[in-house]
Symmetry: C2
Subunit: 344 residues, 2 copies
């Protein structure tokens, strides 16, 4: 089943992110791409004036495939500020765009959210103390158990490569302290629900924390002390899942390389990484521009491109829009999959 | 200049590693490969009888391209043991093979060492308490500052991809405690010396420790507290090096993917990783079977394949010998490069 069968057109709400970054540029480029599905109700949340300025500037550089804001639906937010062009004002406006975009999606049952990149430092300069957009979403939706999932669809094999992070934006030294059986169980619960959009009996892999997954305690005790047991007890309650791990982190993603590039390779449904760089290094190395950041556990689908504000290349017209295109496509695919499941 | 110009034939000494693992199999396979240079004096250190048994077994499985031990130079070590077939006896013999191989290389100025995989647990069962072969080498050569370098030559572009580990076989929780300015400086010194075999003015990259390299202290303080400064002070003393970092770990290896697969991409000479999995995840994802483990800082070149004993596949004839082939080729290339440099 897809949106057409329900006679409701899917709405994709895009917050433009920090306007001193590349968010507006990649959104205008992406919405002009022929990879983007039609028959979708795209709504931008941002400043109409600023989007028009971005459009004119990119055109003046000689770029052609740029969506013209006058042909787009824009929820125009005029953010009043005494200092319009400072880092703090960009921090404030990008925060307000996100808040408004969330409100719209919450009020529209058949919708998904795609967020442009923001700058956390600018947010804090504007007095918005959140460690990222994900945390704003969790608060706005009043959910505690959310997950940061990176996902990419291979253009070679069509396989969807999913990596969920057990811990996210914390220092490396905090990682071993933060990991617990409860945390791992809650992430596996989320991961299972997500994978069930696609298959009834997913295969999930779990990376170890330590080199060689601790090598029987010689290179770290967490696997031996509790992580092995945590996986066993979760799997006993979730027998439909083929759960493998804790696996040696340095070879855990080898099968992902094959699944990404070879049609006949074994395909797994996801890998749970213990920390940010453990998951994101292989994700970016394997999938680079195809990787999309997704928040799972929310009442709706939210995706964003897997890059930052790109302050160093802003205004040059050279920002790659592939990740934004993938974010939009993934939001649509996942929303359709979740509705399919919920209407069974 | 190569070995022929000096009228001395390069000697490559191979310790067979743990004989209950795949070491003997991959060595016999590798030495039969037409990728392996001729005019090299290959010497195996192991048990002649066991190598002959391995050969006969592999032949009985129908495998053909296997070097016959009777045509190889073998430094035959008969390790006396009351229990010949236990994990502990394999631990002891693999340790003795390594020790003998080191002795031979130390006594032969024009030689390199290639080591087959061993099992640390078997070593400790046999009373040899070392955390790996690298530590045995450091002790035997009486050097303190050594480095674990992973290196792979791209079969597509010919570019050599080098990743040096600042810390190696320790638990993740120990990593932030172990890293210091002195450690980073000593590793960069080693890395520079190694890169100078190939180029006068290398470009080196250094990964951060924390997500986004700490993001100005928000996601970890080590970069801000001392790592930034450590790189600056080292670079001031080593102005010939183009030193970049600390870089965001999750995007640090993106340029390696390009250099590996595209002829026109920018080429860097090496990346210093802060910990085992940070370096080895991208190494294996990008280079897989081409990756070779090298010890730098020794008076000679030592390489080994980038895999373990493979106990689960032993005797099946299916072990891949590509990494052993690459280890032998790399040992020869690097020894020639280092001699070239030393005779300038």
């Amino acid at each position: 089943m897809n949106f057409q069968n329900t006679n409701k057109i899917l709405k994709v709400v895009l917050s433009v992110g920090d306007e001193s970054g590349i968010g507006p540029e990649v959104i205008l480029k992406a919405l002009c791409s022929n990879e983007i599905p039609e028959n979708i109700d795209y709504i931008l949340v941002g400043s109409k004036k600023n989007l028009q300025n971005t459009y004119r500037h990119l055109r003046s550089l000689g770029l052609e495939n740029i969506a013209n804001p006058k042909n787009l639906k824009i929820h125009d937010l005029e953010i009043s500020s005494s200092d319009n062009d400072t880092q703090s004002s960009y921090g404030n406006s990008s925060f307000q765009y996100l808040r408004k975009a969330i409100d719209i999606v919450k009020q529209s049952p058949n919708s998904a959210l795609v967020t442009g990149p923001i700058c956390k430092k600018s947010w804090s300069l504007a007095g918005h103390y959140f460690s990222g957009q994900t945390e704003v979403l969790a608060k706005a939706c009043e959910v505690k158990n959310i997950g940061m999932l990176f996902t990419a669809k291979s253009p070679i094999t069509g396989w969807r490569f999913n990596t969920l992070l057990a811990t996210t934006h914390i220092s490396l030294s905090e990682v071993p302290k933060k990991l617990t059986t409860e945390l791992i169980h809650s992430k596996l619960d989320l991961f299972k629900d997500f994978c069930n959009y696609y298959t009834d009996k997913p295969t999930l892999k779990v990376a170890g924390l330590n080199p060689h997954a601790g090598e029987e305690g010689i290179l770290g005790h967490e696997e031996k002390d509790w992580l092995n047991d945590a996986l066993i007890t979760w799997n006993e309650k979730n027998k439909d899942i083929r759960l493998l791990g804790p696996l040696s982190p340095d070879s855990c993603w080898n099968s992902s390389v094959k699944a990404w590039s070879e049609n006949n390779a074994d395909k797994h449904d996801g890998i749970l990484a213990m920390y940010h760089d453990q998951g994101l290094i292989p994700m970016k190395v394997i999938a680079l521009n195809y990787s999309v950041n997704t928040t799972i556990g929310l009442p709706f689908i939210r995706t964003s491109p897997d890059h930052g504000t790109g302050f160093d290349i802003v205004g040059k017209g050279i920002a790659q829009s592939q990740s934004m295109i993938e974010a939009i496509k993934a939001a649509i695919e996942m929303t359709n999959k979740s509705r399919q499941l919920n209407t069974h």
